[in-house]
């Protein structure tokens, strides 16, 4: 008895900070996934002369920004034991609401940003309240919301895109750069840092893990699991709204039919990063890795000139292989 307990104690006893760090990075999946990622990078660097360059890495960062930002929120929702299928529609609706606010206010970009974020958070709130108060599976609630938010986005202007004419808005969320790093990437990094802090270091993060790990136990420990879940949905909604701002700023306009199907990429990034679909386990950095991995695959294969059909096959196979190896003992 004491043998196992002691050896366990020894293993744990060494360095708490290292452990915490490891936990942060690891989620469910061991380091092999990181190795797989490294292998991919090396392979693409050989396969394509332009892959390994800072400008291409910025490209990848920009291309994955939307998915990464929303996936940070989705990590909260999935760890809490729920799912959000409505993020792509929320993104579109938030973008439209931001663009309309800017248009109506004659170019008030801050108002637009606030409107976009608020819209996203509101959709998340509705998702959360319906899921927790009515005890409906979030799969169905957010599937319904996927249609509702998209429908509203389309009806707002009768499917017409809304053009945004605000240089400040374009710059803040789209084309601006800080120290050469484009705004969307800066925003993504901030979101990752905040997300990791809240999930892994704050009490709210604890509650999220506990709620998804065992909702009954969490409730018995005095945790308001409904509020916890609802907040996770609100975070995700607001981040989808933020993604909507970025997309709108980059395109100089909001289109109501944008980003359809993005939810699958987002969920894939989260799961690939080691978060369990059944809740209770996961990590923000894993999610970031998952998103980057998909991004690197898309980018690398395109640079290599692989046809879009073959890309589907190769990407599918690499995802399965990477996870398979990382699951091996």
């Amino acid at each position: 008895m004491s043998l196992t307990a002691q050896s366990a104690a020894k293993a744990g006893g060494t360095a708490p900070s290292v452990k915490t760090l490891k936990n942060l990075v690891r989620g469910d999946r061991p380091y092999v996934l990181y190795a797989a990622f490294a292998v991919l990078i090396v392979a693409f660097s050989f396969a394509s002369p332009v892959f390994f360059s800072s400008s291409n890495f910025l490209n990848i960062g920009r291309q994955t920004a939307l998915v990464t930002i929303i996936a940070v929120g989705m990590t909260f929702v999935i760890i809490a034991g729920e799912i959000d299928l409505s993020v792509a529609s929320t993104l579109a609706l938030s973008g439209m609401s931001a663009a309309l606010a800017i248009q109506q206010s004659g170019g008030n970009w801050a108002l637009g940003a606030a409107a976009g974020l608020a819209t996203g958070a509101l959709v998340g709130l509705v998702n959360g309240l319906l899921t927790t108060l009515l005890a409906i599976p979030s799969f169905l609630v957010t599937l319904g919301m996927l249609g509702i938010a998209r429908g509203i986005a389309l009806m707002l202007t009768g499917t017409t895109p809304v053009v945004v004419n605000s240089l400040t808005f374009w710059d803040s969320f789209g084309e601006g750069a800080i120290l050469g790093v484009p705004a969307p990437i800066v925003i993504t990094i901030v979101v990752i840092a905040l997300g990791a802090y809240v999930l892994h270091f704050s009490t709210f993060g604890r509650r999220v893990f506990a709620t998804g790990g065992n909702a009954t136990a969490a409730r018995y420990s005095g945790i308001n699991t409904r509020r916890t879940k609802t907040l996770a949905f609100v975070i995700t909604g607001a981040l989808a709204g933020l993604a909507g701002l970025i997309l709108t700023a980059r395109a100089h306009a909001a289109r109501p039919d944008i980003a359809a199907g993005l939810e699958l990429d987002v969920i894939a990034a989260v799961i690939l990063g080691g978060t369990s679909l059944f809740g209770g386990r996961g990590a923000i950095l894993g999610t970031v890795l998952g998103s980057l991995m998909i991004g690197v695959l898309n980018n690398g294969l395109t640079l290599m000139g692989v046809s879009s059909q073959a890309q589907l096959v190769v990407k599918g196979a690499i995802i399965i292989a990477a996870v398979a190896f990382s699951r091996r003992k």
Binding site: S48, V50, S54, S55, N56, L58, N59, R62, Q63, Q103, L154, G158, T159, T160, P161, V163, N165, G174, E175, P182, P184, R250, A251, H252, A253, R255, P256, D257, I258, A259, A260, G261, L262, N298, N299, T302, L303, M304, G305, S307, S308, Q309, L312
Partner: protein, 360 residues
């Protein structure tokens, strides 16, 4: 991070006279090789119009999607024209780009027993059997944009109305070619799936280039998911820094590509097909959109309505009506908008245009 060496910017670019680019007449032939009629060739006489009104006809419309400007203009103009002539539109269905959904949509429309159906097929193969049921149920059928394989005129359908896809592809390529130096490279961003309408555009572009600018090297890529066109187009340029101009198969993916290029800091001119609202705005705001091969949506939709009404009263409509390509540059942007949308360009486009050199 400007990786492409393109020196030319909008200001220093040679100005193109759009009129000179527009093909004289129609480039493509009909689905069965027939010579096309022009939209202006189909109209109703007063007597025919009265007959239509007396018929109290009902029609249904099966769209491939409702989420693009094309669909909006089409349905608005169709409804308006039918209304003016006392024809009732009983339903507009949205196949959401899914062939299997359109099959069901057509069944639902037939269920409502209209006198005629107008349809934009999602594809020319998988929806063929479903469209052939329309005629079998005793209804008139007008095909928009393409005719599914195996359907026969005039038994299965009474008319087909299209934009000159090949012509549009050619127009866009020709305008873009003016910016490609001798021996330079042009990139084509195609659609990865086998769709008649987009295939025609690519064909039109390649045929024109082969014939008129054999010096230009053509590189191609394709996307399967329009939402990812930005990533595909952006990476395509990264991998092929010699590309001096991008031809994108329609406006929505072109917008994605433009936004990606902007992010990458790559100043590469773009040409595309379809003059959507947002693309117009982008161009007005100064984006380097060399040219657009636009579909004359309003003319086309009126022709569709007229062809349907002629068929409804038992007159013969031409088997193939094609709306010629409209070449659009900044210099005729707002006018073109009016032609396509049948309404003046919105204020913000007009204003943006004022601040952009060469934009009218």
């Amino acid at each position: 991070g400007c990786s492409s060496g393109t020196a030319s910017s909008t200001e220093s670019a040679p100005t193109i006279d759009p009129a000179s680019v527009e093909p004289k007449g129609l480039v493509g032939l009909g689905p069965n090789g027939e010579k096309p009629a022009l939209p202006s060739d189909v109209s109703l006489t007063a007597e025919q119009a009265a007959k239509v009104r007396a018929g109290n006809f009902k029609v249904g419309i099966s769209m491939q999607t409702m989420d693009i400007d094309f669909a909006k203009v089409q349905t608005t103009v169709l409804k308006k024209t039918f209304e003016e002539n006392g024809v009732q539109v009983i339903g507009i269905t949205d196949a959401q780009w899914k062939a299997e959904k359109q099959i069901g949509d057509l069944e639902n429309l037939i269920q409502q027993k209209p006198d005629g159906i107008l349809g934009v097929p999602v594809d020319d193969v998988a929806t063929a059997a479903a469209f052939s049921k329309v005629g079998k149920s005793g209804m008139k059928l007008v095909m928009i944009d393409q005719v599914p394989k195996g359907l026969k005129y005039p038994t299965d359908y009474q008319s087909s109305v299209q934009a000159d896809g090949k012509g549009n592809g050619q127009v866009a390529a020709e305008m873009l070619a003016s910016r490609i130096p001798d021996g330079g490279t042009m990139g084509l961003v195609n659609f990865g799936n086998d769709i008649f309408a987009t295939n025609e555009r690519t064909k039109g572009a390649k045929e024109w280039l082969a014939k008129n600018r054999p010096d230009i090297k053509v590189k191609e890529t394709a996307f399967s998911d329009p939402a990812k066109a930005g990533q595909v187009g952006g990476d395509f340029v990264t991998a092929n820094p010699d590309i001096k101009g991008l031809w994108v198969v329609w406006d929505a993916p072109a917008l994605e590509v433009i936004s990606a290029l902007r992010g990458q800091g790559a100043n590469i001119p773009v040409a595309t097909i379809d003059l959507g609202q947002q693309l117009t705005a982008e161009s007005a705001q100064g984006a380097d959109i060399v040219g657009v091969g636009a579909q004359r949506l309003t003319d086309q939709a009126k022709a569709e309505a007229n062809a349907m009404m002629l068929s409804l009263i038992g007159e013969k409509a031409p088997s193939y009506i094609a709306a010629p390509a409209l070449a659009v540059t900044k210099s005729n942007l707002t006018d073109s908008f009016k032609i396509v949308f049948d309404s003046p360009a919105p204020a913000d486009i007009v204003n943006a245009c004022k601040n952009t050199s060469g934009c009218k």
